[in-house]
Subunit: 336 residues, 2 copies
């Protein structure tokens, strides 16, 4: 049934009726606001991120549930980068009235399931009819032990630089889809497409690493070098990335060949991987590696923090060359 | 300067640089998420509401600052209806790239000033470029003493029904603008237009009323009768509204004549007044009236709660007739 036939109030009633109670929720959806019970001794960590149709997702390449999962992932990633435990979310929908209720329900189910896997519940929201592209804006609240939040500003010269997952894959995935269309579904490209379509949550890993000597963190949402620039700028440090230190990534190599690009262009360039880029106390390298292993999460030590503010270099293979971000800027200006 | 020339990152940098520090904020805008310090012994109250251009505001009738103030007001009203104190907000912008930075700054300034008047700070956000109508989605977090939040479900038979302000004015204001155009600027219609353009915050009043015997509350965002229906449905009660109990409202009478509608059609019908509709313990009527007086806020006792679930009547003038909501439904379905 289309939303225009169901009406706004009934759509909201059905969407909220599908939500579960949560122990930390005093008043759930359906009142003027939700009332929540924060844990004593914790700080509150809040972020908001949205998906705009055609820009942040392509409906023809994702199921509705996957769009919901992606919306969860982009916000969960921000909390992971603060070492926070996700708790409560609010969803603001902008949807077309010719959409079916069932499709909206499927999207919400994907979102709710992904949030629940990391311990968070959907506690409220807002619904508005739009005529152009749809959008979904999520606000995610989490908790972290007081004073224990990671920030972008704590990296110190001598710290190691580590990254989870396979940076560059998500950007390669969307480039393949845009360039090759259906041919992007080739088997050897599957891990790359998957990284774009269904980013992994690093929340559990971040919580495990919280006491493992991480000094600064940022989520990789603009690309490895772009986000490294941000972390270095906010910490007042520089960094060296060792080209030889990355784990081999045959899927990304396939993608690079298919796109006629270098592996480094994909790895360093614009990519919304939603992986974690971390500065780590070198004395705690083993503790970090062990934690990552126990969560079955790839963690590569790819370089180190230097004392030259704002200067990024690539080292290895016998040379040392400057690294610069080629970030994307949806506003058409320079990303610098 | 247009946003397309400034670029996304620089736009965000300038917007966040304009924000002030707040004592309860450990990490403000510019990191992956904001880190906040909740007050011990309080619950967290969260809501989200958005403004879509052309639907929830008309750019030609409001300054950019007023759009920002309105975005604050629609969210502050939800927290007022829970008797919560606003604390922190996150803003998700969907804006066109041909907009000037200065206009966006003015909108943010209006929002931040309105939030600050009620004790809240903007601590984070998100920015995306859109090609169609712009939108602004705010999530507002507040705090309330544990267990003290008002809900929609606490009204009991015998409670008095009270409303702040002048219900119906905001709906009349937007109807005048749409029907009369420039002629809506007539002096005798000014209070009605003002109610639509710049809704008053009832946060301070709600905080003062929190211990004055209010048993249930809802903010009037759909219209007096529509929201009364909701409050009654959630409390499992009915209500009688006394037509003779409303304060005289000459401005609304002018509007009714200009629109060829009855006063009651405007007063009861669809209207996003952002006023508070309250159920009040009759023993505490004086305490409520005094609190309202001390905040210079109109408070009218307009009827009472009955034990007939879901049944609404208008009484006074010697007759008793059923009241039904003619709510608006942006989805085109019935509002019922």
């Amino acid at each position: 049934m289309q939303l225009r036939d169901l009406g706004e109030r009934e759509t909201i009633r059905r969407l909220t009726a599908a939500l579960h109670d949560s122990a930390s929720v005093s008043v759930g959806p359906g009142d003027d606001a939700a009332v929540l019970r924060p844990a004593p001794g914790y700080e509150l960590v809040v972020t908001t991120d949205l998906l705009l149709e055609g820009r942040h997702y392509l409906s023809e390449w994702m199921t509705q549930a996957e769009i919901g999962e992606r919306l969860a992932a982009v916000n969960l990633s921000d909390l992971a980068a603060m070492a926070a435990a996700p708790r409560w979310a609010l969803l603001s929908f902008g949807v077309r009235v010719d959409r079916t209720f069932e499709s909206l329900e499927e999207l919400q189910q994907g979102l709710v399931a992904a949030l629940a896997r990391d311990g968070a519940a959907l506690v409220g929201g807002n619904l508005v009819a739009v005529e152009g592209p749809e959008f979904f804006s999520l606000t995610l609240c989490g908790e972290v032990e007081s004073g224990a939040a990671w920030t972008r500003s704590g990296a110190r010269p001598g710290d190691l630089l580590a990254v989870t997952g396979h940076p560059g894959r998500a950007g390669a995935g969307v480039a393949l889809v845009r360039e090759l269309g259906e041919r992007a579904r080739a088997t050897d490209l599957a891990p790359v497409l998957e990284a774009w379509r269904a980013p992994q949550s690093r929340v559990a890993l971040a919580r495990a690493l919280a006491s493992a000597g991480v000094t600064a963190a940022i989520d990789v949402s603009d690309g490895l070098v772009g986000d490294l620039e941000q972390l270095c700028a906010m910490s007042g440090v520089g960094a060296e990335v060792d080209v030889a230190a990355f784990a081999s990534d045959p899927a990304l190599e396939h993608a690079a060949r298919a796109l006629s690009l270098s592996l480094e262009t994909l790895r360093y360039g614009p990519s919304d991987d939603y992986e974690l880029l971390l500065a780590v106390d070198p004395a705690r390298q083993d503790a970090c590696a062990k934690a990552a292993e126990s969560f079955d999460a790839p963690l590569s030590f790819i370089g180190r923090i230097t004392d030259a503010p704002g200067l990024l270099f690539e080292v290895g293979r016998g040379e040392r060359r400057p690294l610069a971000a080629e970030g994307f800027d949806h506003f058409g200006g320079s990303a610098g």
